[in-house]
Symmetry: C2
Subunit: 246 residues, 2 copies
Amino acid sequence: MARPKLNRKPAPQMEVTRRSLDAQAADKLRDAILTGVFAPGEKLTEEVIAESFGLSRGTIRASLRLLVHEGLIVQEPYRGYSVRSLTSRDAWELFTLRNTLEAFAARLLAETITEEKRDRLDQAYDKVVKAVTSGVRTRAVEADFQLHLTIAELTEHAALQGHYALIAGQVRLYQSLVSKFLSLQDYIVTHETLILAMREGRAGEAERLAAQHNTADGERLVEWLREAEGRSEDHIRDRPVGLSAS
Amino acid sequence: MARPKLNRKPAPQMEVTRRSLDAQAADKLRDAILTGVFAPGEKLTEEVIAESFGLSRGTIRASLRLLVHEGLIVQEPYRGYSVRSLTSRDAWELFTLRNTLEAFAARLLAETITEEKRDRLDQAYDKVVKAVTSGVRTRAVEADFQLHLTIAELTEHAALQGHYALIAGQVRLYQSLVSKFLSLQDYIVTHETLILAMREGRAGEAERLAAQHNTADGERLVEWLREAEGRSEDHIRDRPVGLSAS
DNA sequence: ACTAAAACAATTGTTGACAATTAACTAAAA
DNA sequence: TTTTAGTTAATTGTCAACAATTGTTTTAGT
C-alpha cells in the first residue's frame, strides 16, 4: 500500500503562505472593500466570490464570517451578505467608540513609555509629517491610520489591540470619508500635542487629547451624513467610499 | 396535485429553533465552559463535540470559531482547540479593558437618561440587592453581570454593546474568580453611588466611578493569580491568542 | 547508545453535494 | 381588482468524504 503521495497543488505555495486559505481570502476581500472595489451596500454571494477566488464555498463562507465580525459586512440569514454602508448613526458610534479605545491606549502608552517605544512612535509620526509635506492625501490618510495602529501596538495590551483591530477596517473607511473636511495640515496639528504628551509620559493629558482629537471632525462627518440621508431618503448611492475617494 | 405538505417540524417554531445550528451549538458550548463543564486548558476536538451534540464537524467548527472570537477558546493551527485559561496578565487586560468600556457606557447612559431607562436600571439594581440579601453568592454574581449588561444595553450604542458582548463571557469567568475576594455587601456598596450618578445624569462622576469600581478587586485578583503562577512553575503554556492583532 | 529518516496517528483544513429557507412569481378564487 | 395559495429560482445552511499538517513512534544506520 505504499502509494506515492499525490500533490495536486504544488504551484500556489510560492511564498511564506502559512496562513489558512480563509484568512487569505478574508484579507483579499477586506482590501477589495477598503479600496472601493465593492461599493457599500453591494450584495455579495458566497458562490460568485468562491468562483472568482478559485476556492470552495465553505472556505469563502468562513472568510465572510470573519468580515462580519469586523463589521465590514452585514449578514441576513438566508438572504445573503452585503457590504456595510455607514449611516450617520454608525459613524457616530464608530468615532465615539474609537475615541474611547484610543484614549485608553494613549494613557497606557504614556504610562509605560520607554526609549525604544519613543523611537517607534517617532517613526510612525514622521511618516505622517512626510505624507503631509508630500501633498498626497491618500498617503496622509494611510499614515494616520498606521500611526494609531502603532500606538495600539505599543501599549502591549493584547486585548486592547484585538478590539482595536476589530474596528480598524471601519476606522479606515471612516477616515477616508472624514478626510473631506480636513486640510492636510490638520493631520499634523491634531497629533503633535498628543504625541508630545505620550512621549513625555503625561498620561492624563494624553488620554484627554486622544479622546478629543477626532471629535470635531467626527461630528462634522455625522452632520454631513445626516444631511445627505435627509436629501436622498432611500439610498446612499454616493461615490464609493474607498481610499481613492478624495 | 394538492399534496399535503410534509412538515417534519410541525411544532410552532420556537424562537430558539430559528437560530442557526452553529449559533445554538455555540450557546451550549459557552454555557458548558462558563459552568465549568469544560475546565480551563481542557482540549476540545471538533469530532468529539460534533458527536456528543449530534451535529456535523463543519457546524461545530463554525461554533468553535465564534467562541475563539469571544476569547473563550484558543486555537492553534492544525493542533486543536482548548478552553482558555486566565493568566494574571489576561486578567489584568480584561479588567482594564472592561473598565474602559463600562466607563464609556456609564457616561453615555448618564447623558441620555430618561424615565424609562431609570426604571429598567432600578429593576436590574434591585435584583442585585435582592440577591445579596438572599445570601446566595452565585445569584449575586449573576445579578451583577446582568446589571452591567443592562447598562450597556441602555446606552443604545450598538457598537459598544457588540464589543461588550464580546468580552462578556470572559467577564463572567473573571467575576466568579474575583468573587473570592468580595463580601456580599460589597456588591451593593460598589454600585450604589454609580447607579445614583447615572440616575441623576451626572455623567462625569458616573464615568469616573465606573472606571474605578472594579480596580481594587481586579488588582487583588491579578496579584492572587500571579502568586499562584509563581508557586506552580509549570505554566509553559503557549501564548493564548483569542483576539489578536493582524 | 545515539541520531536521522521514515512510517504512523491524531487533528484540523478544504471541498462538493444535498437540504432548508426565503422571496419573487404565477395563477386561481373571491 | 384584490387576495391567496401554490410554484419556482436563488441563496445560504448542513453534512460527510478526502487532503494536508503536525507531533509521535518506530526503525535503520553509525
